[in-house]
């Protein structure tokens, strides 16, 4: 049967309120007597607070509360908004006596105005015992290194004496044997940088007490349920006393899968009884929220003359900064989301070390380790091809995973623990590669080094997979109730952070019940009202939350069919059709509207509320696939790389909403282009970030965007709602390797770190000469 709503460009259901500037974001509401919270940050990369005097600050008339480690709960926890039990170490308190990076919070002031709070910060006197610091992860691993975490109470850290948060080792076959069998072996090391998510809405939280004295937290988060659980843990307040509301979120990209402001706001409200507000400035967002894990990755590939890989070895050294949030799982994904792509290699090894340093704290960021893994892997694949005189397309076609196949890595490596056995149930990589290559004109341009004065053209490609949710862990759930006019309310815990998930949900429910998306009222993420959902991360919105609402819709549909069958006085409802708000029996041509069914069940006969419930947890994490192609122009005189055209051919299963899907693809690519070309933290000698603003940390603007062509190749994944897989993260993985490969095609140079700044390009050109 043809889909009525799925696959259609339904307008984003929250867009009208957004384009008209309605007060839908966290900080758009103002409460009477609200206290404004401002933070004092450590100027040192590593120091013990010997003494902190807040008495002068407390004397200011408008100041209500000053917080430090002395008067706040010293509950060791992780700020990572992950499912319980969290795979991240418990290594931080709300405020720490030992501060471990420039930008760590030392104190907070809650005052009647922001100005008063700022004034009070200046009056706080802190005496630091400044300690030696360590910035380089390789240094940090040495026995002689500064110990970033020496406290007794941390949990979940492999070896604090070596600053080693996690060590991962996964083997399949014997790589050394594989390298011996190879005709060529290529090894290359690539380093990625500190980069920030830069959601245009910074972190924001407000909290207040409701009429019964419960704490309400309205916050810009991706993980409302994890916020509730972790705030309860940190403040030792019963979970039942906390309500978390997620309004519209102004982008997250992973930075808001973290509990940063919520516990402080809630604590201020608890202590003062007053509403509290904390909103990060752009500078604070840079220095004190979260970043992407910088990694140093070495990939070694052995291959036969015919191009078939005999072994792949990957080593990732991940810098998790001062705290270990997401450290283990991001590094796990560096291997688990990349290596299965080339399952033709019988021997595979992945080793990773996750290391503390005295630098800002990386966390979750779109791509989640896979981005760093692909940055290196996909360039090494090209290097192998070059050595064998095979083109980049052929070598990938020889080695990539196919439908019906598996990889030992799936089972060996999960999110910080063992993974699950899984077979690929939908895949169209060859088609993606062919379409993308044709669109960019790969074979016409590749190796041609077309020149115009000092400017040289090059083309490059890269291949990717990701996942859809975390198998056997991620769960979402939903409740759907039927109203008198045949409309439904969907209550679900999922978190639309701008992606369009609420709209996708309306389409899925509309499709199952045979009603228009307009008749589906979606109410997301309010811990008092909606059922549990683990939140927005791991590319799981459509797949997991969508799976949950589909299950609930089917549950409601079954009840509707039962009522209709009784009304029609028929024996079974197997062949009934739901369309345009009616239930139809093709046998008897009888029909009844959902509105009539609702009136009947609410007011007339065997009265009850028809209500569907459903949960969804996946046994596997079906990967979407993408083939990226880019044409660049590089100026030999200035070292400037300009992307000219970017093609991304993507298989994300069945597309629920094409326009929203396009948006996810293009947005991720542009984010990735920024990561590849210009975005990086610059640090001073003391570990202070020197460029915490959009002047000096350049994210792409409208004029930096090349022609971008997203091409969607539909497949059908039997495990996803209507055949859908994920799409939100995968496409950020392409720009670093694809542009890197295009740079090699143009000039024969290969950089060993991102971003590809003009300085690095020029240096490489000079070294080559």
């Amino acid at each position: 049967m043809e889909n009525k709503v799925i696959g259609k460009d339904v307008n984003k259901i929250d867009a009208l309120g957004l384009v008209t500037g309605e007060p839908v974001f966290t900080d758009d509401i103002k409460l009477p007597n609200m206290l404004h919270i401002k933070f004092l940050y450590s100027p040192h990369a590593n120091a013990i607070i010997e003494d902190i005097d807040t008495s002068e600050a407390e004397k200011l008339p408008q100041v209500h509360l000053v917080l430090t480690y002395k008067n706040t709960p010293q509950v060791c926890h992780t700020t990572a908004g992950q499912g319980w039990p969290e795979p991240s170490p418990y290594d931080t308190c709300m405020f720490n006596k030992h501060v471990r990076y420039v930008g760590e919070r030392v104190a907070a002031v809650a005052a009647e105005t922001e100005e008063a709070a700022q004034e009070a910060l200046k009056l706080i006197k802190v005496k630091y015992n400044v300690l030696p610091k360590v910035f380089d992860p390789e240094e940090a691993l040495k026995d002689s290194a500064v110990k970033v975490h020496e406290e007794e109470y941390i949990q979940g850290v492999v070896d604090p004496k070596r600053n080693l948060v996690s060590h991962i080792e996964v083997k399949a076959g014997d790589v050394e044997k594989g390298f011996k069998e190879a005709d060529v072996v290529v090894e290359h090391t690539f380093e990625t940088q500190f980069a920030q998510h830069c959601p245009i809405e910074t972190h924001a939280t407000i909290s207040y007490l409701d009429e019964n004295g419960r704490i309400v937290i309205r916050t810009s988060t991706q993980v409302p349920y994890h916020v509730r659980r972790i705030v309860s843990q940190v403040l030792s307040v019963p979970l039942s006393k906390i309500r978390v509301i997620k309004p519209r979120i102004g982008g997250g990209f992973g930075s808001k899968q973290e509990i940063i402001l919520e516990e402080v706001c809630a604590f201020v409200t608890l202590k003062t009884g007053k509403p509290a507000r904390a909103v990060y400035t752009r500078e604070e967002e840079f220095i004190s929220s979260r970043t992407r894990h910088p990694m140093k990755i070495t990939v070694k590939i052995g291959a036969k003359k015919d191009g078939k890989f005999t072994a792949i070895k990957m080593y990732a050294l991940s810098n998790t900064g001062a705290y270990g949030t997401h450290g283990l799982t991001v590094a796990s994904n560096t291997g688990s989301k990349t290596l299965p792509l080339y399952n033709k290699a019988p021997n595979v090894e992945f080793i990773a070390d996750v290391v503390y340093t005295n630098l800002p704290v990386p966390g979750a960021y779109r791509g989640y380790g896979a981005t760093q893994g692909y940055a290196c892997l996909e360039q090494v694949v090209d290097m192998v091809a070059e050595k064998l005189n095979i083109d980049p397309i052929t070598i990938r076609k020889i080695n990539h995973i196919r439908k019906g196949e598996t990889s030992p890595i799936f089972e060996a490596l999960g999110e910080g623990r063992e993974g699950v056995v899984q077979y690929i149930e939908s895949e169209s990589i060859d088609t993606l590669i062919d379409i993308g290559a044709k669109e960019i004109g790969f074979f016409e341009k590749w190796g041609k080094k077309i020149r115009n004065g000092s400017k040289v053209r090059g083309v490059g490609m890269s291949l990717h997979m990701q996942g859809s949710g975390i198998p056997k862990i991620d769960m979402g759930s939903s409740i759907i109730k039927l109203n008198e006019d045949g409309s439904v309310n969907v209550l679900y815990g999922g978190t639309d952070i701008g992606t369009g998930l609420d709209t996708v949900v309306a389409q899925i429910v509309g499709e199952v019940l045979g009603i228009k998306p307009d008749s589906v009222i979606v109410y997301p993420s309010d811990t008092d009202i909606t059922p549990f959902d683990k939140g927005a991360y791991a590319s799981s919105g459509t797949y997991i939350s969508g799976g949950a609402v589909k299950a609930a819709a089917i549950n409601l549909r079954d009840q509707i069919l039962k009522v209709a069958r009784e009304m029609f006085k028929e024996l079974d409802s197997k062949d009934y059709i739901l369309e345009n708000g009616f239930v139809i029996s093709p046998r008897s041509a009888k029909k009844v509207s959902l509105s009539e069914i609702a009136y009947d069940t609410l007011y007339v006969k065997k009265q009850k509320q028809l209500i569907g419930i459903g949960s969804f947890m996946s046994e596997s994490s079906p990967p979407p696939f993408a083939a990226h192609f880019v044409e660049i122009e590089v100026d030999e005189e200035t070292g400037i790389i300009t992307p000219i055209k970017y093609v991304a051919a993507v298989d994300c299963g069945k597309v629920i909403n094409p326009e929203l899907t396009r948006g996810q693809i293009i947005g991720a690519i542009v984010n990735g282009i920024g990561y590849a070309l210009s975005e990086e933290y610059k640090f001073g000698e003391n570990g202070r970030m020197l460029n915490p603003n959009f002047f000096d940390y350049r994210i792409p603007s409208s004029r930096d965007v090349p022609e971008i062509l997203p091409i969607i190749v539909e497949t059908f994944d039997p495990t996803g709602p209507f055949g859908a897989k994920s799409v939100s993260e995968i496409n950020i993985n392409g720009p670093i390797p694809a542009i890197g490969n295009a740079l090699f095609d143009a000039l024969g140079i290969r950089l060993n770190s991102s971003p590809y700044t003009p300085e690095k390009v020029l240096k490489a050109i000079r070294n080559k000469q």
Binding site: G21, R282, G498
Partner: protein
Amino acid sequence: MKVHYKINEKDYSFEIHPGKVLLDVLRENGFTEVKGNCYMGTCGACTVIINGAPKTSCTVLAAQVNDAEIITIKGIGSVLKPHPLQEAFIKKGAVQCGYCTPGTILSAYALLQKNPNPTDEEIKRAIDGNLCRCTGYVQQIEAIKFAIKLLTEEK
């Protein structure tokens, strides 16, 4: 000090601290449709139109624009009666998180006031100061072009 503005064609007087920037004065007085938080004029989320020109309200002192005519996103359309630019942004998938959208639409609105038929390059230049991290701009540019079509049809 007292300042007076005409905001979205209505007269307002506010008592302000002379050091306040316009963004904060507007938000504190209920104009929360003006978003923003960089206070350096770099992200464009706080764009409003002041005396006909799009400006980042986080870098304008409120006192400095006393007696100005200001247009916020609420001045060009509403939930009940959206402007063609707003309709186009909805229709063309140009809204993801929506935080930058009011500012971007106002930059486009100011452009179309002066130049009803801009080239692609002129459109890109007009919204160059409005950073967006979600969309990658492509659908925003498509939406502005679609709005031009709608506006032409209206005439």
